[in-house]
Symmetry: C2
Subunit: 503 residues, 2 copies
């Protein structure tokens, strides 16, 4: 059917054309179908919708779509029904509980990447994947397809190490310390991190307070080969780009199918050129992984997958029943992290966790007594010197000091209403309060703990301080701390169980 192009300024998140209801009936298409539009290219577009918005005999084309396919306002084009991409059939297969082969998985990944699938179709795919899953060989094919549809970095020499944290525990500022120790030991570790998705502060959110994190692939390779390590933001490269499109659908559904999660992590490691990987699996209440058994299952999956894609994988199951260290929020975390590297003595679990994780990497690289060696590198100042080399290479100030990073001007001390012990610090509530204070967008926002789990507290002692960059958010965070108190104080007697209460 012949229609006249009408360019309009509608930017719908799915690039579709508009056709009048009656024309749709003539062509034999409905909303959600595809049409093939003649013109400079044989492009297949989606029918976005059809109604009174568009005149009979016209086809409404959003500006961006018109540009992509080179349509001009007033063009006469022929419009016919086009069949769905083959990968829609693969989605049906997964709905029906069947396995997909390598080619089907590759085609599906390409179709998502090229915007050939609608959100409805991607949602069905993720739901089917969540319910019916993939076996480990399918996940390996999925991982390779996700990596190969983006940029793949190839280092001139190996081995290339990487470190990844499954996340979910607030205050986890170990990454720059691990990278500095490992690089100081002469091992290449091109670490990419993410920004917060649902957390209060991702690694890139606090690293960018003291140096650039947006580093392109060439520069990442250069710094890594020269200095040994980087702490960059993964989003500044085109690594496994299909993942970002999938997250847009995963997020509203609140699901992260196991196959997608594993492929998402491992495809980015494959793309960065890693040959060896250590994965930190924070385990505890209020994190992604709640129990040791679950953590072991993840570890097995990651190692099995590594074996299939030719990557040596080891895992560290770490304690995550409370935040790591004392600070949560960009500037606060940066300060705590740098202060440790500077050699200031902290009673912080950050030191222990960083040295244990770095230690595993050192041992995989053939250096015996890894954790002790890592501690030695940290204590000797070698790690700090390596850290500063990386910071300067990423555009940071050569005279950077931890005290340069200051929390927000507005603060509020939360004091204990009674004497006792810190019985719990709830990760989810910590995140809620820090986010209410403005983290991670407001760099000064966050929480600084004065006490950690198990410590003795007297009535009136400061438990933690909330920081914010403005008064309104401080108030919002205070309110949040009342609604979701992050800390629980109990006497030694936590609960009296009498015959009456036990009944």
């Amino acid at each position: 059917m012949k229609l006249t192009v009408r360019i309009h300024d509608v930017d719908i998140s799915e690039p579709g054309v508009l056709i009048h209801d009656d024309d749709c009936a003539q062509i034999g298409v409905q909303e959600g179908d595809r049409v093939k539009v003649s013109g400079s290219t044989q492009a297949v577009l989606l029918v976005g919708r059809s109604d009174t918005l568009i005149d009979l005999g016209h086809i409404g084309v959003p500006g961006k779509v018109a540009q992509k396919y080179n349509f001009k306002d007033g063009d006469e084009v022929s419009v016919v029904f086009a069949s769905k991409p083959d990968s829609v059939r693969s989605i049906r297969k997964k709905m029906d509980g069947e396995r997909l082969d390598k080619e089907e998985i590759r085609a599906l990944v390409e179709d998502i990447l090229e915007n050939r699938l609608t959100k409805i179709e991607i949602s069905a795919w993720l739901t089917a994947l969540y319910i019916n899953g993939m076996d480990i060989d399918e996940i390996a094919d999925f991982t390779v397809a996700m990596a190969e549809t983006g940029d793949v970095i190839k280092f001139d020499r190996g081995p290339v190490f990487d470190f990844h944290s499954l996340g979910g525990v607030p205050g986890n500022k170990v990454t720059p310390i691990v990278v500095s120790i490992v690089a100081a030991a002469g091992i290449m570790i091109p670490k990419t991190s993410s920004r917060a998705i649902s957390s209060a502060c991702g690694t890139s959110d606090f690293v960018e307070t003291f140096c650039d994190v947006e580093i392109d692939a060439d520069r990442l390779k250069e710094i890594t080969q020269d200095i040994g390590g980087v702490f960059s933001w993964g989003g500044s490269m085109n690594l496994a780009p299909v993942d970002d499109l999938v997250i847009k659908v995963e997020h509203p559904l609140g699901i992260n199918p196991r196959a997608q999660m594993l492929a998402s992590i491992m495809s980015k490691k494959l793309a960065i050129g890693a040959t060896h990987l250590v994965v930190d699996i924070p385990t505890g209440a209020g994190t992604k992984v709640q129990t040791i058994e679950e953590a072991k299952r993840y570890a097995k999956d990651l190692m099995d997958l590594g074996e299939r894609i030719g990557m040596h994988v080891e895992c560290a199951i770490t304690y995550a029943d409370q935040p790591v260290g004392y600070a949560v929020g960009p500037n606060l975390e940066a300060r705590e992290c740098i202060s440790i590297l500077e050699g200031n003595k902290h009673p912080s679990a950050v030191v222990e966790k960083a040295c244990d994780c770095a230690g595993i990497i050192l041992e995989v690289a053939g250096i015996p007594n890894g954790a002790a060696k890592a501690r030695e590198i940290l204590d000797s100042g070698e790690a700090y010197r390596k850290f500063m080399e990386i910071v300067v290479a990423q555009g940071g100030r050569p005279d950077l000091r931890s005290e340069d990073l200051q929390p927000g001007k507005y603060s509020y001390d939360v004091v204990s209403p009674k004497s006792g012990y810190v019985h719990a610090i709830r990760n989810k509530d910590v995140v809620s309060v820090a986010k209410a204070a403005g983290a991670p967008a407001d760099k000064g926002a966050g929480i600084l703990f004065s006490k950690k789990k198990g410590q003795r507290v007297e009535a009136g002692d400061v438990l933690f301080t909330i920081y914010a960059d403005n008064e309104a958010k401080l108030k919002r965070a205070r309110d949040a701390a009342v609604r979701y108190p992050p800390m629980e104080i109990e006497g030694m007697l936590i609960k009296r169980v009498s015959p009456l209460t036990a009944r």
Copy 2:
């Protein structure tokens, strides 16, 4: 956060607001989240997307949304994160294979109807429903919720009969005949039909060639109580309206989960006030239901469901290995249907099927020897007189004759290349060719068969004639008939099986 309203002319199929990326980070929302916008109403809207399209400090509101919530251009509003509707949790439960209770199902149906769920969420719901299903009690709750969230017709007296065909077989023009016979027997049958979704011609598509099908609920009740029956289009009333929204997501996925299909049929019957229902289940290759076993399962489901919602249900499994009768397409089907009612003798299976189905209804209503009685009503002209009463009540001409309905001016005879027998008429290919000819939008388009399955054919005999309203579509249909030949001619020897071929 305070933002300034900017009304824009974007009509995305999902009513969302646009907020700048940086403002989204401040509010703590991402694409796919909801926000609560202050103003005249405490409305919860979807965040459609955020990018350079909208300035910092502004909130882009589509005209329709602004109208609904009474926002004015330049309004200063406060925007905060809003949690998802509770029914998103029900979707997750179904993904996890759990059952939903009555209240959860009701809330979900209301949220879909009120546009509170996104397409991504509805897609996940349908996929989970397709994979994990519902038990019959859940389906009953689902059916009642779907009916009660729309208009419900209450007749002044009972019983009220209804007739439904699962569809999938082309040329199935029995409905007006069944309704006319049943109404002539003094039984109320307010029949609503649909237009073609994927078929070449729905009942409403051919009935509207000789009378109005868009009848509102009051008029439907009036005609039914006065005359006994109607043949109206279901879409002209607000019956189980959530179904239409769900279909928009089902169609692109190409799925029709059993629970959704059953609830969809039965909720409309409940809404129309039916107390008794006979369901025609066309069974055969190329239809929705392929085998007798499958048909029996559908019948059992429908009867079980009927029992739970207080409706007497019986089913007719009917032969559907080839089209019903000789004509496919709006005018052609209308002509064949009316001609039968006029008393012209046809060697058509239409007569047999219509009388068998009407017969079941008569027997359920207490009239013995239903099929014979139905035939008597048809042969005596009583059915024809009732048919004309209904046609006139629906605005049709009182002097309507079957020959008023003529096929398209452009036609092409497809002849047999050899002598033999009609071995098969493939329903799917019949539909493809009729649609290529322009059916159902072009009223004259369609196919008229000269031969049916099993009949003797000589080389050069006309097998069927393709009709179209214009030359281009006739050519398209001819091409389709070459690509997908609807008819298969074989000699008495269909296939020689020798030791060589059998190997």
